[in-house]
Amino acid sequence: MLNAALPWLLAGFLIVLGAGAVRRISLWRAGRPAPVDLIAGLMAMPRRYLVDLHHVVDRDKAMSNTHVATAGGFVASMALILLVHGFGVDNVWLARALLLTTVVMFAGAVLVFRRRLNPPSRLSKGPWMRLPKSLLVFAATFFIVTLPAAGILPDGFGSGILAFVLLAGIVAGLGEMLLGMGWAGPMKHAFAGALHLAFHRRPERFGGGRSTGLKLLDLDTAGDKTLGVAKPADFTWNQLLGFDACVQCGRCEAMCPAFAAGQPLNPKKLIQDMVVGLAGGTDANYAGSPYPGKEVGKAKGSAIEVITEGLVSQETLWACTTCRACVEECPMMIEHVDAIVDMRRFLTLEKGTTPGKGSETLQNLIATDNPHGNDPASRTYWAADQNLPVMADVKEADVLFWVSDGAFDMRSQRILRAFVKIMKTAKVNFAVLGDEERDCGDLARRLGDDATFQSLARRNIEVLKKYRFKRIVTTDPHAFHVLKNEYPDLGGSYEVLHHTRFINELVEQGRLQLNARTGGTVTYHDPCYLGRYNGEYDAPRAVLNAMGIQLAEMERSGFRSRCCGGGGGAPITDIPGERRIADMRMDDIRATGAEVVAVGCQQCTAMLEGVVEPRPEVQDIAEMVAAQLVDVAEPATAREVA
């Protein structure tokens, strides 16, 4: 009886799954068009899944194994089920293989079940608590149902009461696995996730690549086209698809500095709210941690309603420091920062509601090319005594030193001077742009003002075109990132180096000699825009090593470094929380027992020095190096600088 019903059951479930999938796809297609190579994406998908995604998941070994067993077991089982029970292929070995895969899946499901007994707070509850049981039922039922086919039990097995029990198991298991996949159950992640990997908006991220620059916004306002994302339907379709891939694992939440500081942001909830938005409805079914300080159940929206009018509060979007910790951590490779900035673009460019000092800062950037409204003709005052070669005079240099807006800030000027001293000691042939330099546009762009970003960037590129240089070096990781990764979209491609890498080169080439540093313990804080955005983890450490420093690493360092709170315009929008992100980071630093924290960013310096004393001292690597320089009277070789 069961055998007769099974093919029909399977067919029925598959049809409903298909219908669900079609509906889901139509939801995604409400989004704006995006340039995606569909075929190439689909072809690349298995590799992306098995290699790239696994790479991320594998950071949590136990979970990785669990997932391999469960998912692998399920995919194999499902294929075999279709053969054995769907098409009735009568082959004992196939059936035995199916038995094996269900056992594997069962084992995986047991691990899932165990994890769910006492789940960490970052995991969502609700339907996700049901999932391991459904997995167990699915695996167990099909194990038993297949026993006759495998010749282990007689054919007549499974009639009467047992048949009903098994039937119920099959319906429950297939319901969760197939219906849930198409109709927004937890298993949706498998379906959406697979397609998301295929049609990802940043295919460069697969195969070990890196893609972190924000995408250019088309500023054409003709025909009432909204700038930025007002409604879920304003996202590109593959962004919507990406949101649907979220497994609510909460790894992003666990890493998010704003969430930890009690600011009203939780990247996981944000992605889930986007899912609510794209499908329409409320967040009443959301079973994870809320935005700190905000009640769950009040948010509602649909694909064509403005997101910030009921679905997500504006503060939530402004609390993000764009540190990319969530993106780095997400096993589904979802792009939270892109989504947040897209929505900020709408708020700034269309609504004009950048909070805090945002409006003032943007006005300054427009009127003076720097965020504090300083006289643009006073950019070189800091170097009045430094006798720096200016490009307008020399026209050509090996290294263009991008000074950044640190030129206007007394504390940052100490870093700039230290770096100039280093370059002079190493006899680097360098020049600065002087008053021709403008803010790189990082801040305007993260605040959603892509118009001002593009205007600044275009004018900087114009200036850069006039001069000849081999590479750009800067002490500011934000400028570094923007020049290196975001100017190419506007036609400016350069070799850009962070000063730590450049110093390291000089040391390796023997053009700088450093004394060993004595004194207390040192730790190093990875700036987000240097580390996660650009993968530069080694050079700063190498330079510190060259001074004989044994780093006392923080628990959260390298790609898991915790943000200082200074990125994304967060200090300007200044959304209140329960703690300051910088205070938490300082606690991380204190935990190492360090007396000095080395940094490679003037923004990090400002944020960490904003922590009330007593606290470890904050020094830029340039300052530390400048203090350890061996005065080489006559350089061994007066080699030309590369």
């Binding site: 500023l219 306002t221 009432d224 909204t226 700038l227 700034t348 460019l349 269309e350 609504k351 004009g352 509601t353 950048t354 945002g358 409006s359 943007l362 006005q363 427009i366 009127a367 003076t368 090319d369 409204g373 300083n374 006289d375 643009p376 003709a377 003002d449 118009a451 001002t452």
Partner: protein, 265 residues
């Protein structure tokens, strides 16, 4: 409050300049005037500019206004006749302006001359306007240091908006691009006195050294002496008793006139 849709407020806006870079922008006070207008329930808001169609005017549009009427005038023109003509045609109930322009002579005469030509009262340094019970408008005027005075005026009138009025909302790029600069051709009158004006970069004004002034009273002389000593690096009291330290503070407060010694009558 009954909303009378027929009420019209016109805001006169100019092209400002950033004080540090000199780059064109919306003028700060004019945009505060627009902010005030946008916050007045029941008024339809219109913008008027006499001059050229500078792109900086779009920053006003970015505050959420659909269009600006630009009365085309050469830079050598006296813009008041054109403004007055346009306002006569339009007959608004209320005209708002900034107190002082950011470019040119910036004498602050324009609103006074406009009011005079229209025969309307001029209310200066306004921070808020609300409708009173008896058909008059209640106008809060900014006095120095956060003090306020209440005035009552009937429409129509011209008001200049004080720098202490609420800060202008952010100007958003999208609406700024979509809004219209509607050019209106009008006759222009040349400014006869403009030739006499000789512009030069602002010279630093010598700071009067307090002590150099011939002091007439002991108190003045004393003040001169304290001002001088205070201006160089600051005095630090360490060893004195708490009472002595407190009285040093008090003396400075009294000398600066921020604490009233006479009992308030």
């Amino acid at each position: 409050m009954s909303l009378d849709k027929s009420l019209k407020v016109r805001v006169l806006v100019s092209v400002g300049q950033h004080p540090k870079s000199g780059r064109e922008r919306r003028a700060d006070q004019d945009s505060r005037a627009l902010e005030l207008a946008l916050g007045m329930p029941g008024f339809s808001v219109g913008l008027l500019h006499a001059g050229s169609e500078s792109p900086a005017l779009r920053e006003y549009l970015g505050m959420g206004v659909k269009a600006i009427d630009v009365l085309k005038q050469p830079s050598s023109a006296d813009v008041v006749p054109a403004l007055v003509q346009a306002l006569r045609n339009d007959s608004p109930d209320l005209v708002l302006c900034g107190t002082r322009a950011e470019t040119g002579e910036a004498s602050g005469m324009t609103p006074y001359r406009v009011a005079n030509a229209l025969g309307w009262p001029l209310v200066p340094a306004v921070v808020s306007i609300s409708r009173g019970s008896d058909g008059t408008y209640e106008v809060l005027q900014a006095l120095p240091r956060g003090q306020r005075r209440l005035l009552k005026v009937r429409t129509p009138f011209v008001a200049t908006v004080d720098p202490a009025a609420a800060e202008a909302r952010q100007s958003a790029f999208g609406p700024a691009q979509r809004g219209q600069l509607q050019a209106v051709a009008v006759a222009s009158v040349a400014d006869p006195a403009a030739n006499d004006l000789e512009f030069s970069p602002a010279r630093k004004r010598p700071k009067r050294i307090a002590a150099a002034r011939k002091a007439t009273t002991a108190a003045e002389r004393f003040k001169a002496a304290t001002v001088k000593s205070a201006s160089k690096g600051g005095q630090v009291l360490v060893k004195e008793t708490a009472a002595e330290k407190a009285s040093a503070i008090l003396n400075l407060l009294v000398a600066e006139g921020v604490i009233a010694v006479d009992s308030p009558s």
